[in-house]
């Protein structure tokens, strides 16, 4: 039976106010400031004479390089999301279904561990593994499997490996919650009706975990396209993504206006994704809220 009828705003709604204040002061104001700076010739806070300009946006449109940067960023984001999903799902399934409390705790630790290593150090660890003289290449060479080091980093693949490693925990934890709520008996019922375990998974568990897949993918994608440290270190500065370009514009070209314009583009991409996600989720699950 449905709960209440026509939604009436009640006193609990007031609880949004502290967050609204935080967002107004520490999100809308700063981001608004950035948005303003993206259409000005200089920093209005410190310079008296600034004028309106669209040159920062025009620069993106006029030079195909920036479009390529955007597409590289999105491509890396998509691959990262896809790989994180493929390797995150089995782990999430295991975590959701494991019976032993200790086993669950150990898995949780293992999943959380990459998040706790510290982004900078973790990325250096990956460099140790993936570089030409790295662990993997040294092992492969000493086993005689390869003669010359494999190119495992300084390319998009290296970035994707690093990003997947960082963001898999987010995928796993999102999925675990959703898979855990799927009644195991549904899988059993499917198997009982003659489906192989694989088939039961495809027909029952996978469709039911779609909201989790979407939520996890959105989160990982959003984090991946705004990542900075990993792409810069594992890409060996030879792959340019939007956040790297933004940082470069801020720290080395001192062109905050252009950096802000690039940031606005990234924000618009991300927000359209959230909205599209909400829409899709509403279609697949009949549920209207984000989970």
């Amino acid at each position: 039976m449905p709960g209440s009828s026509a939604p009436r705003v009640n006193s609990l709604a007031l609880l949004i106010l502290p967050s609204a204040l935080l967002f107004a002061l520490f999100f809308f104001l700063p981001i608004g400031l950035m948005a303003v700076m993206s259409v000005l010739t200089g920093n209005p806070v410190v310079m008296p004479n600034v004028a309106f300009t669209t040159k920062h946006y025009a620069r993106m449109g006029n030079d195909s390089y920036y479009l390529e940067v955007i597409s590289t960023t999105l491509r890396i984001g998509l691959w990262t999301t896809l790989v994180a999903l493929v390797i995150g799902y089995p782990l999430a399934h295991w975590m959701a279904r494991i019976k032993s409390r200790t086993g669950h705790a150990l898995l949780l630790m293992a999943v959380l561990a990459p998040m706790l290593t510290g982004i900078v150090v973790r990325t250096f660890a990956w460099m140790t593994l993936l570089s030409d003289k790295g662990v993997i290449n040294q092992i492969l060479i000493s086993l005689g499997l390869i003669a010359r080091p494999l190119q495992l980093m300084y390319n998009e693949a290296g970035i994707i490996i690093g990003l997947v490693h960082i963001y898999v925990p987010f995928m796993v934890l999102t999925l675990t919650g959703v898979i855990g709520r799927i009644d195991e008996r549904l899988e059993q019922a499917a198997e009982n009706l003659g489906a192989s375990p694989w088939r039961a998974f495809l027909e029952v568990t996978l469709p039911l975990s779609l909201p989790g897949i979407l939520a996890g993918s959105l989160l990982v994608f959003a984090l991946a396209i705004s990542a900075y440290v990993t792409p810069i270190l594992l890409g060996g500065f030879q792959i340019m993504t939007l956040p790297i370009l933004i940082y470069q514009q801020i720290s080395a070209n001192f062109n905050v206006g252009f950096a802000a314009a690039l940031g606005m583009v990234l924000l618009v991409i991300s927000l359209s994704l959230v909205i599209a996600y909400n829409h899709v989720l509403g279609l697949v699950s009949g549920q209207r809220e984000l989970q």
């Binding site: 806070v45 410190v46 390089y65 060996g236 500065f237 720290s251 001192f254 905050v256």
Partner: protein, 354 residues
Amino acid sequence: MTASSRRFTLSRRRLLTGAASLGAGVIAAPYVARAEEPVLNVTGWGGKWGEVMKAEIGPAFETEFKCKLKTDTALPFLPKLQASSRSAPIYDVLHTNSNEQWAAVEMGLVEPKVDPKLVPNMADLYPYAVSDKIVGVCIFTSAIGLGMRTDKGYANISSWKELWDAKYNGVRGGYVIPVNSLGQAFLMMCGTLYGKGQTDLDAAYAALEKLKPIKLVDFTGAMEKLFLSGEVGLGVIHDSGIYRYDGQNQPIDFVTPSEGVLSLEQVLSITPGSKVKELGNAYINYMLRPDVQKRLAETVWYSPANKRVKLDAKYDAKLLTTPEKVSKLIQVDWKWYNAQKDEIDSRVNRIFRA
């Protein structure tokens, strides 16, 4: 806006009182500045430089000038200065590499020159430290040349052009030109080597194109690691990045190419809006004092700009401490470079795209 933010501060503070039990009290002490003393805000490096500054040289300055020295070691410095008010800059003295000083002076963030009358030690400097290629004053310099592994049988390297030899494919090292002074200086050197001079960009681009494959880093520290681990066998680096491993039995050495070494200057300048300019000048003068120069130079292997500094023999042998050695330094025209920076960046970003 201000009023509401202040209200927020109060409520936030009340909120945080609850969290204070989590050990806040233990480390609250360092925040309590001695209010009556003037505060000098400067920038500075981390690493060994930061250690010796924090441990000895900074405190000595504070005691001598009865002030509080606050050093920001969290890069990047210039965007922060850029964002802060011209009349109340977050730094009084800016310490960066030379190219950033030129960008800062273009934006009106620092004063173009330091007045030698207010900084008496400037009288004792080598000419390069106060040349027209320098904004403010240069306190130290390093030489940018080539670093090499000594255990790979690379014999008799004497020219920058050696770097283009195909046998270094896979072990060649360089810098991300848009973000690194060494990379930018090296680009200028490419123009000199293969074209009509520093400003021959087309020749430089062509040379860079031929330099691939090359491992790029954004900071000298990272290049040092590539050398130490053998990832890079021959690459661009400054002398201090090699010399600092002196005595540690590392198979690496610094090469001074016959075409000359590029100058990597450590530059100090004063911000126009600083309220403690007198103290700022005193700080610059202090940093140029022979004893301070000697201590820092022997810690981080930077060549002192003050010609009256006498280093211990081990350092004296390697660093640029005589007029003859200093004459090999090539200074880059950063003003010109910065004017072309956007164009250069967009070219080299494409060249080095994987």
